[in-house]
Structures are given as structure tokens and as C-alpha cells.
């Protein structure tokens, strides 16, 4: 299926008659990317499903106010990132869980037979990623899995490219050390 350009989507969305059509085109283009972006952060499919819907409802409500000062998908990514971080913060507050223990809880949800098909290495990698702080985890995921450029990540997170590079390099070293640690096994 030919990907529709963001400009066309925005143009059609501006006209009330074609608004629904534009939104469907937008969903076709970005729903899976946004889904996996959120899923790598919150791990659980059901939580991800709720957040995906929240994100696209916000997109629907605010797209007419989009000012083109960034790309459409980075704007959607930003909404998804903020929703994920808000969700994780709420989870910490709700369970009165310390910061470092939330990752432990997410790590436990990897073991549950809830849509995880990876082997031991992949499981270990996911656990390694969960040891990173939230923002660093985001940076690593967007760079490593989504192959996004630092400029695009900068637009999503509102962080400078230099800081992003530094953060990503630190993240890579941590994960490498975790993966090479034979004492950690599952």
C-alpha cells in the first residue's frame, strides 16, 4: 500500500468533508509504529492498547491546530511518549512503588505468557533495557529499534542532539555489560 504523504493527510483533514478519510489514512500510516513505540515502554499489550487509543483521540482533537513546526509523525511520537511516561508515573504513584522497582515489575510482566515470543537472549536484552532510566530507555528504543535520527528524536523529546548522543552511548555500554554478564541468566 502506497504511503500517503503527511501534507496530503493534513490537507484532507482541514476539510470537514474529508476529515474522516484523512484520519483513516493517518491511522493506516502510523498506528503500528506508535503501538510498538508505546509497547516497548509499557511492555503489557492491554496497557498499550489503552494508550494507543488515548494517543489517537488526542491526535484527532488537536490535528487541526497542528502548526507544521515539526513533522507530523514526530508530533504524534511526542504525544505517545508523553502518554507513556504519564502512565508509568501514575503506576508508580498508584502502587507506591519506588522508581527502580517499576522496572522490576515491568520485567516480571515479560515472563508472563502475554504476547512475548522471544528467546532467552531477546528476553535478556529486554531486561537489560528495562534497567535504564525512562528517558534513556526511550532514546535507546527510538535509536536501536526504530532507527530514528537524532534530530527526529530531539524533536520528540525536546532534548539536544548532543545530549541524546551521550545518553544513547551510555545506554549501549550498560546493555552490553548486562548482556555479557554470565551471572545474569533466565
Amino acid at each position: 500500500m502506497k504511503q500517503v504523504e503527511d501534507a496530503e493527510i493534513l490537507e484532507k483533514f482541514s476539510v470537514e468533508k474529508t476529515r474522516q478519510e484523512a484520519f483513516n489514512l493517518l491511522l493506516n500510516k502510523y498506528q503500528q509504529k506508535i503501538y510498538w513505540h508505546i509497547r516497548r515502554m509499557v511492555i503489557d499489550h492491554d496497557d498499550t492498547d489503552d494508550l494507543v487509543q488515548d494517543v489517537f483521540i488526542k491526535v484527532w482533537k488537536n490535528l487541526e491546530n497542528f502548526r507544521n513546526d515539526s513533522q507530523l509523525y514526530t508530533w504524534i511520537y511526542r504525544i505517545a511518549t508523553n502518554e507513556s511516561i504519564t502512565f508509568l508515573n501514575k503506576k508508580k504513584q498508584k502502587n507506591n512503588t519506588p522508581l527502580d522497582e517499576v522496572s522490576g515489575e515491568l520485567s516480571e510482566s515479560l515472563i508472563e505468557p502475554s504476547y512475548f515470543n522471544g528467546n532467552d537472549i531477546q528476553l535478556k536484552l529486554q531486561r537489560a533495557i528495562l534497567t535504564l532510566p525512562e528517558k534513556q530507555r526511550l532514546i535507546f528504543n527510538m535509536k536501536y529499534f526504530d532507527d530514528m535520527k537524532y534530530e527526529e528524536i530531539s524533536q520528540v523529546l525536546g532534548t539536544t542532539v548532543g545530549a541524546l548522543k551521550a545518553s544513547f552511548h551510555i545506554a549501549v555500554k550498560k546493555i552490553e555489560a548486562f548482556m555479557l554478564n554470565d551471572d545474569i541468566s533466565f
Binding site: N24, I57, K61, K149
Partner: protein, 219 residues
């Protein structure tokens, strides 16, 4: 090109990580993405509907939710207590309730029959009064019989006479006994005085009441 350079930098620093295949270990339910679009459209529609419909027109009384929460907690505590303490600990003697019904009924039944027959007023408040009254009646009756030894008459006159006798008896009962005896002595003396008659009166009586044959036979 720039991205390749960016990636090469970290790959040199983490060769093990660089070798790992970038496969996605996460899965989704079957047909999830096929239905996701419709799901999102529905969510958007409902969200818009909520905004247009505004807040619910329904309201609750003031302080309802606070009271509701308190009553919920008390219900929970109550049920928790009931599960822990099923009985109040009080006991009764064996067979108590089986006998109770009959005991109550036995106490209740006499009063109910008295109530049905109507109110009863006691004539004599004590037994002594009752017996003394009976004794007086007997005495008066005896005196009356003694003083009034008269032949039998018709029932009507008998009843009148009996009433007269009873009133006379009551009068006699009121009179002192010594007076009665004095009166009786006087009557006897008068009677003795009244029984003396003259010879001429006797002669005329005999001639008037008896025949010559009777007189001759007696002579």
C-alpha cells in the same frame, strides 16, 4: 549516510549488541491491527460525543458519596465481623423454647375467659362480712317463724304476709329483747283479766250457741 555513521560509532563500542538480530520479540493478539483502526475511530467518536453531551444531567444528594463510602466501609466491617463471630454466645436451657409456648398459653388463657364473661363486682369484700350477714338472716328468719305461726293462705297473701312478716321481723330485730318479754307479761295479765265474764253473759251465750239436747246430754 549520517545515520550510518551515527550507528557505526556505537557498534564499535558494543560489538555484542551490534551482532544481535533486531527482531521484535513482542507479539499481538490475532487480527489486532486489522481492528485497531475501527477501534480508534469509535473512541474518537465517543470522546467527541462526551464533549458535546456535556456533563450528566443526573445529580446526587449533597454529601452522598462521602456517606456512601462510609456505609460501604461499615457494611464491609459488619460482614467481616459476621464471618468471624457467627453467634452472640448466649445460650438457653435445653428444651426451653419447646416449653415456653405452653407456659405462655397457660398464663394467658384464664384471663381471656374472664374477660369474655364481662366485669364482675364483688358484693362482699371479705368472708367475715359474708358469713355474718348469713347468720343474721338465719336469726331473723327463726324469730319470724317463732312469732308468726299462722295457717297457710293463698300464695299472693302468703307473699304479702311474708313481706309483712319480714318487715315485722326486722322491726322485732330492732326492738330490745327485755321490752319484748315485758310486753308479753302484760299481755298475759290482760288476757287473764279479759277472760272473767258475768253469769248473765255466760247464760245468754250458752242459750245462743248450744241446743237443748246438747245441754241435756252434758248434764
Amino acid at each position: 549516510m549520517d545515520n550510518k555513521l551515527e550507528n557505526n560509532e556505537w557498534m564499535d563500542e558494543a560489538p555484542f549488541l551490534a551482532k544481535l538480530p533486531r527482531t521484535n520479540p513482542f507479539a499481538t493478539p490475532p487480527g489486532y491491527f486489522e481492528g485497531l483502526q475501527d477501534q480508534i475511530n469509535t473512541s474518537c467518536y465517543l470522546d467527541k460525543f462526551k464533549e458535546e453531551a456535556g456533563e450528566s444531567a443526573m445529580s446526587v444528594p449533597e454529601g452522598y458519596f462521602d456517606e456512601s463510602r462510609a456505609s460501604i466501609f461499615s457494611r464491609i466491617a459488619e460482614e467481616g465481623l459476621k464471618t468471624k463471630v457467627q453467634e452472640d454466645g448466649f445460650t438457653v436451657p435445653e428444651g426451653y423454647f419447646a416449653e415456653l409456648n405452653s407456659r405462655i398459653m397457660s398464663q394467658v388463657t384464664p384471663e381471656t375467659s374472664r374477660e369474655e364473661s364481662g366485669k364482675i363486682f364483688k358484693l362482699w369484700h371479705s368472708k367475715a362480712l359474708k358469713y355474718s350477714t348469713a347468720a343474721c338472716v338465719i336469726i331473723i328468719s327463726a324469730i319470724g317463724l317463732y312469732l308468726n305461726q299462722q295457717p297457710e293462705s293463698s300464695p299472693a297473701t302468703t307473699s304479702i304476709q311474708s313481706v309483712k312478716v319480714s318487715t315485722e321481723e326486722q322491726a322485732l330485730f330492732d326492738i330490745d329483747e327485755q321490752e319484748i318479754l315485758d310486753d308479753m307479761d302484760q299481755g298475759q295479765s290482760q288476757q287473764a283479766a279479759n277472760t272473767t265474764a258475768s253469769e248473765s253473759e255466760m247464760e245468754s251465750y250458752i242459750l245462743n250457741n248450744y241446743s237443748q239436747n246438747d245441754i241435756a246430754s252434758n248434764l
